[in-house]
């Protein structure tokens, strides 16, 4: 029988569940979940996150809400290399190109998602077989004042550009903590947005991502990283 607990009723319960996973391998988790471990994650993006969502009792599914709705906590898996550096940027949410420019920061999806995050660290080095990769220690995180200011600054800058209809000029270089990148199955996917003249046009969907340097600093503050030893 797969282990599929009910959604946690408190932050403490979620924390306790997450801590119990520290040190387990993905193979052990998959066995408890009655699922198979993919050989490679290239074509199974999101498998680790879904596995952890089921194991921890996340309830939102694909809804545009924090994974643990009752608690307002978002679950984020963060693959790291052998010295504890994040292997990749972290997806936050897709961007509603039409109305993002008129949304306040405090009402934004980004803030709703990042207000309270349960980070689950996972070994992500490609030389470690997927089944053998281990789950690390969890971290319940909320951005502090400096981080919030940084995120809000990026939000303001990036949504301003989108609001001007100049989304095509946004590259991955913009934003100190957060960047905008295409978020689509392939380059043919389209969402409706505005051009520079305010005319509705079809655009490549985009999403907000946290830079690896930003999440790396979070880890450095919270953990003893392997490279420090």
């Amino acid at each position: 029988m797969p282990i599929r607990p009910e959604p946690p009723e408190s932050e403490a319960e979620l924390w306790s569940r997450a801590r119990a996973l520290a040190g387990l391998s993905l193979a052990q988790l998959a066995k408890d979940d009655d699922s198979n471990v993919p050989e490679k994650l290239l074509h199974a993006k999101g498998w680790v996150g879904q596995l952890l969502e089921r194991r921890l009792g996340a309830s939102a599914g694909s809804k545009d809400e924090p994974d643990f709705q009752l608690l307002g906590i978002e679950l984020k898996t963060l693959p790291v290399d052998r010295v504890g550096r994040p292997c990749e940027s972290t997806f936050v949410c897709t961007i509603p190109l039409l109305d993002v420019a008129v949304t306040e920061w405090s009402q934004s999806r980004v803030w709703r998602k990042l207000g309270r995050v349960l980070w689950i660290i996972v070994e992500g080095s490609r030389d470690i077989p997927v089944a053998e990769r281990r789950i690390g220690e969890p971290l319940l995180w909320s951005p502090d004042a400096d981080e919030t200011a940084l995120l809000k600054g990026d939000w303001d800058e990036l949504t301003g550009i989108i609001g001007r209809g100049d989304v095509e000029s946004i590259t991955g270089h913009l934003g100190q903590a957060m960047q905008v990148r295409p978020k689509a199955r392939d380059s043919h996917a389209r969402r409706r947005g505005l051009d520079e003249d305010g005319v509705l046009v079809e655009r490549l969907p985009r999403g907000f991502y946290l830079r690896a340097s930003f999440t790396g600093r979070i880890l450095e503050r919270a953990f003893v990283l392997p490279r420090a030893r």
């Binding site: 520290a22 040190g23 790291v80 504890g84 660290i121 070994e123 281990r134 690390g136 220690e137 971290l139 880890l219 919270a222 953990f223 003893v224 990283l225 392997p226 420090a228 030893r229």
Partner: protein
């Protein structure tokens, strides 16, 4: 089973000899003590073939009449004891009357003696305690006892003897011990026809210590508490050795082996001595004879204190204070060996004798907590009266040992003050290694040398710091402070580290989980032989979690169920060592300056937790002399 029969006296003596005469050195000890009891001013010892072939002790004491000489070879014949009450006031080394007959029973012995008032002396010869041959002889005043062919009739015992060199060394050690106990006697030791020790009569203990510890750079401390007097000459922390073999303990002029006292002396150095390290030197403890029982073992190298705890407490109190001021040692806030600090209350109503006192009767601990200005007079009175018959007041005398140290006349002095006419080599050598009053943060970091040393410029000279020792000292002190204030900060590991342990160690981890958590380690048991480490002390992020856990578990296992605090401090010291900046690590200017600043916050007396000096200083004057500018 055969019939029970009384053993022949010769056989009984041989069996008894097994307890008294273990090796040539123990025979030498008994013979030298007899000489000292006889009031000798000079004692000449000859040792050939490790003391097995020949061991001779000649003294110029009062000698014996023929009748006494004959009796001295009889078991339990002694001039030093008449009744059981005398046992509590013994001032002589021997008293059991069994050493000489025991020695005689296992060798060929000759005894030559003459009393001053006799015109002629007597020679007694015996082999294996039998075949006594007595002949008159013209002899100098005093006694010579010569032991030949030791254990010739007990081959089993002879097999256990070590090499000639080893046995000779034990005899030498015995002679040195005797010389330390009685500075007023001249001792010579001739080994295989070579004079190897000539210790001329000294006026003070300090002089005698100097004769034996040339160039040892000893620190002298003197103090007293109640009837206990302490006089010690000890090496500086950097000269400490593993094991207590270089530390002489002399209680009431008797060399003793006492682990508790040795440990207490080591503990009085605070945290600058490594685990299991002891200073070299000599510790004299004098206290009324009724407070010490020397009749514990035939060899009399063990003593039993009436109140061992109070004795250790007093020794610790004097030694730690005087050493602290002499060497600028950091205060030892909590002792590792159960010696109570003055501000730690005893259990109310329980006297140090384990008897419950009436509630209205003042207890020693009350005196400890409330220093009494009149204590000085009380102590003086006690010191005087303790020599009168105090059988009923032994407890009172001993209790005074535990009185506050306010009245103790402890003083630290250069040993040259202790003996005014001597030109001693034992002195403080502060220029080389200690920090003086320098503010570390005021030093200017110049460069890192060989990725091991930090070269700094200061107001009076150049300072070379051992980067590992300095970082370790800072880490250790901070760990200790955090542990004591229950504020040990832990840092989670990104991934838990799995550690294999023995089942016993895993059980220990389970039993001691709270204490382990208190030192900042988050350890969870995963199986019969597996645990995972999830967090380590924040101060030790460089350390390997496996090693930290093994350090802790290792110390805990060694300490057993008791002495966990001591084990913990040892473990913290090891952990600080393994988790700090090491030789070979590169350090930036900012980090170096931060380390110097951190040293200001640590009272470390220039030594790391293992007793090694952290810094070497060369003054500009010295530098100028070296390059010929002066």
């Amino acid at each position: 089973m055969g019939r029970i029969e009384v053993l022949p006296s010769a056989l009984a003596s041989q069996i008894a000899a097994g307890e008294v005469v273990e090796r040539p050195a123990s025979a030498a000890k008994e013979l030298i003590e007899n000489a000292m009891d006889a009031g000798a001013q000079r004692c000449d010892i000859i040792c050939d073939g490790g003391g097995v072939t020949r061991l001779s002790v000649t003294d110029d004491g009062e000698g014996m009449s023929e009748e006494d000489a004959r009796l001295s070879l009889e078991r339990h014949a002694t001039s030093k004891l008449r009744s059981i009450d005398d046992l509590s006031h013994l001032t002589s080394y021997g008293f059991r009357g069994e050493a000489l007959p025991s020695i005689a029973s296992v060798c060929r012995l000759s005894l030559r003696t003459r009393r001053r008032e006799s015109e002629i002396g007597v020679t007694l010869e015996t082999a294996g305690g039998t075949q006594l041959k007595v002949t008159p002889a013209g002899l100098p005043v005093g006694t010579t006892i010569e032991v030949r062919d030791l254990f010739y009739n007990v081959p089993a015992r002879r097999k256990f003897l070590r090499s000639t060199g080893t046995e000779s060394s034990h005899v030498t050690n015995t002679v040195e011990g005797a010389a330390l106990t009685r500075p007023g006697i001249t001792f010579t030791l001739t080994r295989d026809e070579r004079l190897v020790r000539e210790l001329l009569r000294a006026n003070t203990r300090a002089e005698r210590v100097e004769q034996l510890f040339e160039q040892a750079n000893l620190v002298a401390i003197v103090g007293e508490r109640g009837p206990l007097k302490l006089e010690a000459y000890l090496t500086r922390p950097e000269r400490a050795r593993p094991g207590a073999s270089g530390l002489w303990l002399i209680v009431n002029e008797r060399v003793v082996r006492d682990r508790m006292l040795a440990t207490t002396i080591a503990q009085s150095f605070g945290s600058v001595l490594g685990a299991g390290h002891y200073p070299r030197g000599v510790v004299y403890i004098d206290l009324p004879s009724e407070l010490v029982d020397v009749n514990v073992h035939p060899q009399k190298t063990e003593v039993r204190f009436v109140d061992p705890r109070a004795t250790a407490d007093a020794v610790y109190s004097i030694a730690s204070r005087e050493l602290g001021s002499a060497l600028s040692l950091p205060p030892s806030p909590r002792n590792r060996f159960g010696v109570r600090n003055g501000n730690q209350p005893r259990t109310p109503g329980i006297s140090m004798w384990g008897k419950r006192k009436p509630d209205d009767e003042p207890t020693p601990d009350a005196a400890l907590r409330q220093p009494n200005p009149a204590d000085e007079q009380v102590v003086e009175a006690a010191t005087v009266t303790s020599s009168s018959l105090p059988a009923s007041s032994i407890a009172d005398s001993a209790a005074l040992i535990a009185t506050p140290s306010a009245q103790s006349t402890g003083l630290v002095r250069d040993i040259s003050e202790a003996s005014t006419h001597s030109t001693l080599l034992i002195r403080e050598n502060t220029a080389q290694t200690t920090s003086g009053d320098v503010r570390w943060s005021s030093l200017r970091f110049i460069a890192q040398l060989r990725q091991t040393f930090l070269l700094c410029e200061g107001p009076v000279g150049i300072y070379v710091l051992d980067q590992h020792a300095a970082a370790e000292r800072v880490a250790y002190q901070r760990l200790l402070d955090q542990y004591r204030s229950r504020t040990m900060a832990a840092q989670t590991l990104l991934f838990p580290v799995s550690v294999e342990l023995s089942p016993e160690q895993v059980e220990l981890v389970e039993q001691r989980s709270e204490e382990i958590a208190a030192v900042g380690l988050d350890v969870r048991v995963r199986g019969r032989q597996q645990v995972t480490v999830h967090a380590i002390p924040r101060l030790l992020q460089r350390a390997s979690p496996e090693r930290l856990l093994c350090d802790l578990v290792g110390e805990m296992a060694r300490s057993g169920g008791r002495g966990f605090s001591a084990a913990l401090e040892h473990a913290l010291s090891l952990m600080a060592c393994h988790g700090s900046l090491r030789a070979g690590d590169t350090i930036s200017q900012t980090e170096a300056q931060a380390l110097l600043g951190a040293l200001d916050t640590v009272d470390f007396a220039g030594h790391c937790a293992h007793g090694r000096p952290v810094v070497a200083v060369m003054s500009y004057n010295e530098l100028e002399r070296k390059v010929g500018r002066r």
